[in-house]
Structures are given as C-alpha cells and as structure tokens.
C-alpha cells in the first residue's frame, strides 16, 4: 500500500504532510531510485478494457517486463475532452466492452498481485463523483492503486478530492501546461503529490513527431516551485523524445502511441507492447 500512517494530517499543507509521512510511497521510492540511477521514469498508459477487459493484466505485465517503471490505468469516460482520437476510440471500445469503475477496481486488484511497480488511475471527475469521492479513494487504495490523475480537475477545484485522496493515502497528481500562468503552476505544485504532470503541447493527447520548444522552460519554471518529480506527457511517442528529456525531466508518460501500437496488432497485443516499449527505450 502507498503509506501506512494511522495519524490524519488532512488540513496540513501538502509540503508539510509529505515531510512527516512515516513511510515513503511507491512513487517516491521509484523516482528516488531512478534519480540515483540517472534514468527517466517511463510510465505506460493503458485504458482498462482496451482492447479487451481480460487482456489488461497481460498488457500491464508485458509493459512492466519491458521497462515501464509505473502504469497509468485509464478508467474510460464517455466524454474525454482532454483526449485525442486514440484515447477517445479506446475509451469507447472499453465502455462498449462493459468496463465500469467497479470492474476497473477489480482489475487493479488483480494487477497489483502480479506487479510491484506504482499503479495510477487516470479518469475524469464524473465517474469518481458518481462512485462517491471518498468511497472511490478508499477502494482505489484497497485495490493497491498509488495515485490518481484527473485531467478535468484543476487544483483550484480539487479540495474535496484532495481531502479524500489524502485520507486514503493516495497521491494526487496535478497538471501544468504551456499556457499555465506562474500562479497556477505554483498552485498545482502546492496541491500535488507523487509528481507534477507537465503537458508537453498546447493541445489534446495524441502521438506527435516533435516536442514543443516551450517545454524545457516550462519544466524549469516548475522546478522553481517544487522538488516533486516532473513527468512529461502528451505527444511522447519516439526514442528521440526520451533522449531530449534525459536529464531535464524525471519521467515521461507514453499513452496514445502505445495504444496505437496495440491497435496495429490485435492478434498479439502483448508482444506489440514489449516491442514498442523496448524500441522506445532499449533495455540497459
């Protein structure tokens, strides 16, 4: 489990809470180890139930065995407005296949028994509200989830989920974007735990050829406000992207490009996941 504190520090500033935690979280120890090794964290995103519900644990294992340092499990939502075509299509297919929040939780529990690396849930706010904010956080923690990523929840609207996540010992990741003002970056850094999700492009998710030149200055701005790891996502799809971010960011998230690869090989998606991730970053 992420942490084992019996004392509640809800209401304390996040920075203080982190300092007095009695045990390090899975995300903290992962980033600390990678930082010591001078390596980027590679976080692989998979939509729960894409391409089929029974394949998700297999794909998570394949990713973990092919260099993924953490897994982001997407609980599909009907209206993913921060997502491009790839994740939209994967979400629709997963929903058609019967994925619910309850099934995603069962899936996470099964996956947790098979892999040790950090697991995060990514979903939009409404499925969490419908399940119940506190109930969802407790259930996610019990299933072995380490953190949450909610793309339609800016820090300014997050007080309820922050409280519930904190009480359930879940990390809650916030975003910064190339368009973010410095005050918003500061607020995200103050509210976040686990890591800061740095959006690489002004746009929605989806594989892209080039990195935005504004990305490196954005990472530098974030560093001025936090010691949390900085992880870059949106558009990350090529080995050159990882090379360019080596020594600059602490990690990358690869999502649409991985799902695109899976879509190309419906017969053997697990091999495709292995092939894609090892191609993205050859094993040491």
């Amino acid at each position: 489990m992420a942490t084992k504190t019996s004392i509640s520090f809800a209401g304390w500033p996040a920075r203080e809470r982190r300092r007095i935690r009695l045990r390090v979280t899975r995300l903290e120890s992962t980033f600390a180890r990678l930082r010591a090794e001078g390596r980027l964290a590679l976080i692989a995103y998979l939509t729960v139930g894409y391409p089929r519900l029974d394949l998700t644990p297999t794909l998570v294992r394949a990713a973990a065995a092919s260099g993924a340092d953490a897994i982001e499990l997407g609980i599909p939502f009907s209206d993913p407005l921060a997502d491009g075509r790839t994740i939209q299509a994967a979400s629709q297919l997963a929903l058609k296949g019967g994925v619910t929040v309850a099934r995603a939780l069962e899936m996470a529990k099964a996956v947790r028994e098979q892999v040790e690396i950090p697991l995060l849930f990514m979903t939009y706010l409404n499925p969490i509200l419908a399940y119940g904010v506190e109930r969802f956080c407790r259930a996610a923690h019990e299933a072995g989830i380490d953190g949450l990523i909610v793309p339609d929840l800016p820090a300014s609207e997050a007080s309820d989920l922050r409280r519930a996540a904190e009480a359930a010992a879940l990390d809650l990741v916030f975003f910064v974007a190339p368009t973010s003002r410095e005050a918003a970056i500061e607020a995200a850094c103050e509210a976040a735990s686990g890591f800061i999700y740095c959006i690489a492009v002004t746009g929605v998710t989806g594989a892209r050829a080039e990195l935005d030149p504004a990305l490196l200055p954005l990472i530098e701005t974030v560093r001025r406000h936090t010691t949390l790891p900085v992880v870059v996502g949106f558009g990350i799809s090529r080995p050159e992207h990882l090379q360019a971010l080596q020594g600059k960011a602490d990690g990358v998230i690869v999502a649409s490009a991985l799902l695109d690869a899976i879509a190309q090989s419906p017969g053997d998606p697990a091999s495709r996941v292995r092939q894609f991730l090892t191609g993205l970053r050859p094993p040491p």
């Binding site: 209206d79 407005l81 910064v176």
Partner: protein, 399 residues
Amino acid sequence: MSSAKLDRGPDGRGRYGRYGGQFIPETLMAAVEELTAAFEAAQHDEGFRREFEELSRSFSGRPTPVYRADRLSAKAGGARIWLKREDLCHTGAHKINNALGQVLLARRMGKQRIIAETGAGQHGVAVATVCAKFGLTCEVYMGVDDMARQAMNVYKMRLLGATVTPVETGSKTLKDATNEAIRDWVTNVRTTHYVIGSAVGPHPYPLMVREFQSVIGREARAQMLAQTGRLPTVVVACVGGGSNAIGIFAPFYDDPVRLIGVEAAGRGLNSGAHAASIVGGRPGVLHGSFSYLLQDEDGQVLATHSISAGLDYPGVGPEHAFLHEAHRAEYVSVTDEQALGAFHETCRLEGIIPALESSHAIAYAMPLAAELAADDTVLINLSGRGDKDLDIVRGLAGA
C-alpha cells in the same frame, strides 16, 4: 414563487450555490481567466455597451415585441397568453444576442478565429453571421446526425463563410460537437475564442451568456408593464442548456413572478429517450461545470433524445440547477408529441411557425393558462422560429 431577493451569483469561484465552477483541463485555465477579466472590463466599458446595444438594434433587430396571443388564449381558456417574439430576431432566434456579445468581446481580446458548437444550427448560424459581419474566421462543430436533420442551417452557415466540421464521435449530436469544440480550443487557445451557445460550460460562460441574453427579460418586463400595467403572473421558457430561459428569467428574479423552465421529455421520461436533465437527471460534471446531468449509475453521460435538436443535450446550465434547488424556478417537461401539438396549434391559431424548442414552452403554458384566472398573464419566450424544423415536421406528417 418568492419575492425575497435572490442571491443570484455567481460567487468569485463561478459558483451558483454549489453548482458551476471550472472543471476544465489546465491548458484552458489561463484562457478562462483572461476571458473573465475581459468580460468584467467590457461590462464596465460604456463604449462596449453602446456598441452592443447599437448593433442589437440595427443588426439583430431589437427590441423584439411582446405579442398578445388571443386565439391561443381563447383555446386554452383562462389566463391571457403573451409571446416574447425572439423568433423575429435576425437569424431567427435569440441566439444572435449571445453570438454578438461574445464576438464583440473576442474582438476586444484580439482573437481572430472563432469556434462554436451547434445542435439545431441556430447558434452556429448566429455565430457565422456575426463573424461574416466582422470578417473573422469561423469554424462550427456539428454532430453528423444534427447535420442531417438541420441541413438547411448547415447550408446557411457555409453561405456565410463558416467551415462546418462534422462530428462523428459518440452521440453525433450537440454533446459531442461540444467535446470537439473544446478539443479545438485546447489546441488553438492562444488565437481562438470559443463562443459557447448556451448557459453551460466553465465560468465565466454561464454568466456571460446570462448577461448577453438578459436583454430578453429586461425588454419583456418593461413591455409587459407598459402594455398590461403589471408584471406577468408566470414566465415560461424551454430549457436545453437554458440560455433563452436564463435570459428571460434573470430580470424577474426579485419580482413575485413564477418562473417555469420546460425540458424535453422526448418519448417520455420513462422511455429513457429524453433530454430532461433537471427533471430526470442528477448532479455531475460535464463540459466544465457541475450541474444536473443525464448519466448512468457509473457516471457515464447518457445518450439523449428530443424531437428538437436544440434541446437534445444531457446537461443544463448551472444557474438553472441553482434556481431549481433554491425553489426560485420550477422545472417540468413535455414530450415530443405534446410539443408537436403546440407547434401546429400556434401555426394555425396565431399565424406564427414556432421553433420546436419553443413549442415545448407553449405546450406546457396552454394547460397552465387554463388553470389560472382570466386576469392572470402567462408570458412565453418564443425563442425562435420554426423554419429550420419544417423538414422534421413534414417528415412526421408523411410518416
């Protein structure tokens, strides 16, 4: 009904009671902050107000009259029915009020590209119209199902120089057109203003739309006082996202006037094929705000149905959710069939072809008028004209 002063909101966080807010990707946060500041500055700028009022007069055709519908009143038996004639606005609906206001604001902000979503096409046509007038680039997102049932409005938008982009995802109607417009905005936010067409979306959109549409209620209130010597007993308006309703309701908040919003019950509330968010839904987050929403147990947004494309939307503006919870407005629903009946009655009895959206308000107001006294008055917001719906009505008549 209450005559106590309503705390109308929004508060500093864009909340109407517990509804509203800004549930959007971080990429858009700076843009909505910029928009909030620009809107506040414009509201206090005499020059902006004068330009909006002058163009509302000379371009949109304001003020629109209120009209005493004698034969509808006689048919209902009871209260006198009056219609606020937004159908007489340029482009045929109240949508031009908000399109004009927001495009003027976009010009102030130096945005050269305008995007919009549209359901029935009335908002899309209004935005394309104002963009043509000012020479701005305009792209309108529209579900392919709506493009099929509102083909004439698609043609009009293209005549006016707008690009109409078909949306093939999800329900292929207004909800998914809105998703696509938001994705475009996330990508092009630096150069582009997104003109949301209803009283929905993240703060400050519900506030802006209310303010630009409140001209309807301000005019109607003064006109009713001048022509009947008193305030109406009841004000009735249809509610999809709720822009025409919030526009006519807001100036009556502090008056002893009943406010009734009529949602689309489609094939019936128990059929599952409807679009009545407040009557048949529960609170949730869609398109940037917390409000009533048609959703399943798992928080997935449901497909909706209404004969009227403009009401075919699973959400509703957060201020309506607040008015409902504060018991300041009542929310009811009428079916496709009832709306269609009112459509035909209004054609034959008054010589007015109403939009199918507005026909929902008429359908509820008729039996309501029958229950009221002869010296009561029911004011209906006739939000648009029905020319755009003729293919649908003709198709049903032929079926």
